[in-house]
């Protein structure tokens, strides 16, 4: 077990190195330098700035310096926020994004599992059909449309929650729901189909033959086995939440990493773009590792190699 964790953590190193290299190369292939403005800077000043950020050095040297910084956990200076490093920006914004993501994940799991379980248990009933219609609607509605709708109804019409910012507990509600509803719909669909599949297994027939009540079969036997595919998607779901957080933080003016990433792209703040990409990649890799570990806890048949 410990060996497995170590091996997977070690595997994360080349992945992150590859991601760092890929983004570094891409951001240096962009035509035009980061300090090309519409108004030309005097050549001496431009030379000074370029020397400060090592932009006057050959590509290979710059790459070497960047990797060396990464090894020390230093993501470099921000081109836009003068005097601040990428580490500073991430230290300020990542906790906000994590809070938002965790809340959304919680909403997604609770709503999704409950709706999916109810649908699976009462398949082909009116309840099942309605909730699955809403689930398909939920995965079809873009989160910016949902977010705009929530703001219109709950902050402009009924003035229940603030439409933006990240200050008190009430301001967290709308963004968390806007981010969590689509994954909830996704989990509901998955849970339902997984339960339906398990219901036809032999062990269910055996349990029924023993005379166990349907509820016991469902809760004690079916659910336990049906949960595995749901756990599987939690890895990719981490990536979905990251992507969703760009839009949600943009709409609700939440000062998280996604909002800063969008601004960084508009400002062509390359070190910040690369740094944020790396942090997101690290999050996705860690989420997948956690999922793999979780498997063995809930399903002892799965062997880690």
């Amino acid at each position: 077990m410990l060996l497995f964790i170590l091996r997977r953590l070690l595997w994360a190193v080349p992945v992150l190195w590859a991601v760092a290299t890929l983004t570094f190369v891409m951001m240096h292939l962009v035509p035009g330098g980061p300090f090309d403005r519409e108004k030309k800077l005097p050549p001496e000043i431009k030379a000074n700035i370029e020397a400060k950020y090592h932009l006057d050095k050959p590509f290979a040297v710059q790459y070497g310096l960047y990797l060396k910084g990464l090894l020390k956990g230093d993501l470099g200076p921000s081109y836009k926020y003068l005097g601040r490093t990428v580490n500073d920006v991430i230290a300020d914004t990542l906790p906000v994004s994590i809070q938002l993501g965790a809340l959304a994940l919680f909403i997604a799991l609770v709503l999704g599992l409950l709706a999916g379980m109810a649908s699976g248990a009462f398949a082909q009933t009116a309840w099942d059909k309605t909730s699955m219609f809403f689930a398909t609607a939920g995965i079809s509605i873009p989160n910016f449309v949902l977010g705009a709708f929530l703001i219109l109804v709950f902050s402009h019409q009924f003035k229940l929650f603030p439409p933006a910012l990240w200050e008190d507990a009430r301001s967290v509600v709308l963004p968390a729901f806007a981010l969590g509803l689509a994954p909830a719909a996704y989990i509901a669909r998955l849970t339902r189909s997984s339960i339906l599949e398990e219901k036809h297994r032999d062990y269910v027939r055996t349990a029924r033959a023993k005379g166990l009540p349907e509820t016991t079969i469902l809760f004690r036997h079916v659910l336990k086995n049906a949960i595995t595919p749901v756990i599987t998607v939690l890895g990719p779901l981490a990536a979905t939440l990251v992507t969703g957080s760009f839009v949600i933080e943009f709409i609700f003016s939440v000062p998280g990493m996604g909002k800063f990433f969008i601004t960084a792209v508009t400002n062509r703040d390359y070190p910040l773009i690369m740094g944020v990409t790396l942090v997101y990649a690290l999050l996705v890799v860690l989420a997948n590792l956690l999922v793999d570990l979780f498997y063995t806890v809930i399903d002892p048949r799965i062997q880690l190699e």
């Binding site: 991601v19 873009p142 910016f144 839009v247 996705v284």
Partner: protein, 280 residues
């Protein structure tokens, strides 16, 4: 291969059939948009800006007095073209990569899949944004970026299918007859992934629509004068509080289209392979 029972089964799924009709209607709107649109999409009339929906302007007008209905029809063409083309090109790229990787197996497969793992660690939209930073944000830039990212999922899926199919006895028989690898792959293995391919395509298109409109909504997608549904939603977003119709109609268009493709995908999957009942 399409089974003989495909149509009878598919026809029973009313939602899927209705979705297919809606998608056909959207394609017609995209193709004949110029004829249907009551006004030119870029005709400005600043005396009549930000009008609420009325008899002359069914969906109202935007900040420059342009007819929203006509702009939405124009946006249909761009959104559908970008997503259909991306869906097809991602499918082609992904199928080639996945098929070669799965059929080759062993070290080649391992190396090819490690590359995919790296790309998989970067969330889709993030990678798309990085590519558009590099190659620009015009229609072709967004199309290229979406295609360069969309193939990854397809490749993983097709590789799995090919790995499974190549163990079949008929593949072994073909090999015993001395049939060349390329021919085995093209004639004996890939045709059997047809169902999976069709279903994948049906689910790739809505994700392309979502990615493009999201990108345009946060202001990192198509640049004016090109207007997709996402661009229109972005313009509407700025006036949300007082002119909600400006985001309502583009939002509805995106939602209905995604819904139709998702229902169609579900219907196709159930009809093509009734045993498999998983959500993709």
């Amino acid at each position: 291969m399409i089974q003989p029972l495909f149509w009878p089964r598919f026809r029973q799924d009313r939602l899927a059939v209705a979705s297919l009709l809606l998608i056909a209607a959207l394609l017609l709107i995209a193709i004949f948009g110029d004829v249907i649109a009551p006004y030119a999409h870029d005709l400005q009339n600043t005396d009549n800006n930000l009008a609420a929906p009325n008899a002359q302007h069914w969906m109202g007008t935007d900040a420059l007095g342009r007819d929203l209905f006509s702009r939405l029809i124009y946006g249909t063409r761009i959104s559908m073209a970008v997503s259909l083309l991306t869906g097809v090109s991602a499918l082609l790229l992904g199928t080639c990569y996945g098929a070669v990787s799965g059929y080759a197996g062993g070290r080649i497969d391992n190396a090819m899949m490690r590359g995919v793992d790296v790309l998989y660690a970067i969330p889709d939209l993030l990678l798309i944004i990085l590519i558009t930073v590099l190659i620009g944000r015009g229609v072709s830039g967004v199309f290229l970026a979406l295609s360069l990212v969309g193939w990854i999922t397809v490749a993983r899926l097709i590789r799995g299918e090919v790995l499974r199919l190549k163990e079949n006895a008929y593949v072994e028989a073909a090999r015993a007859f001395g049939v060349k690898d390329v021919r085995i792959l093209l004639k004996h293995i890939l045709p059997n992934t047809f169902g999976v391919l069709i279903v994948t395509l049906t689910f790739r298109i809505p994700s392309a629509i979502l990615a493009e409109s999201t990108l345009s909504f946060i202001g990192l997608g198509l640049t004016p004068p090109a207007a997709s549904w996402g661009t229109l939603a972005n313009e509407g977003w700025k006036a949300l509080k007082f002119y909600p119709h400006l985001i309502f109609f583009p939002g509805l268009a995106i939602f209905m289209t995604m819904l139709a493709f998702n229902f169609l995908g579900d219907g196709l999957r159930d009809a093509l392979d009734p045993k498999q009942n998983k959500v993709s």
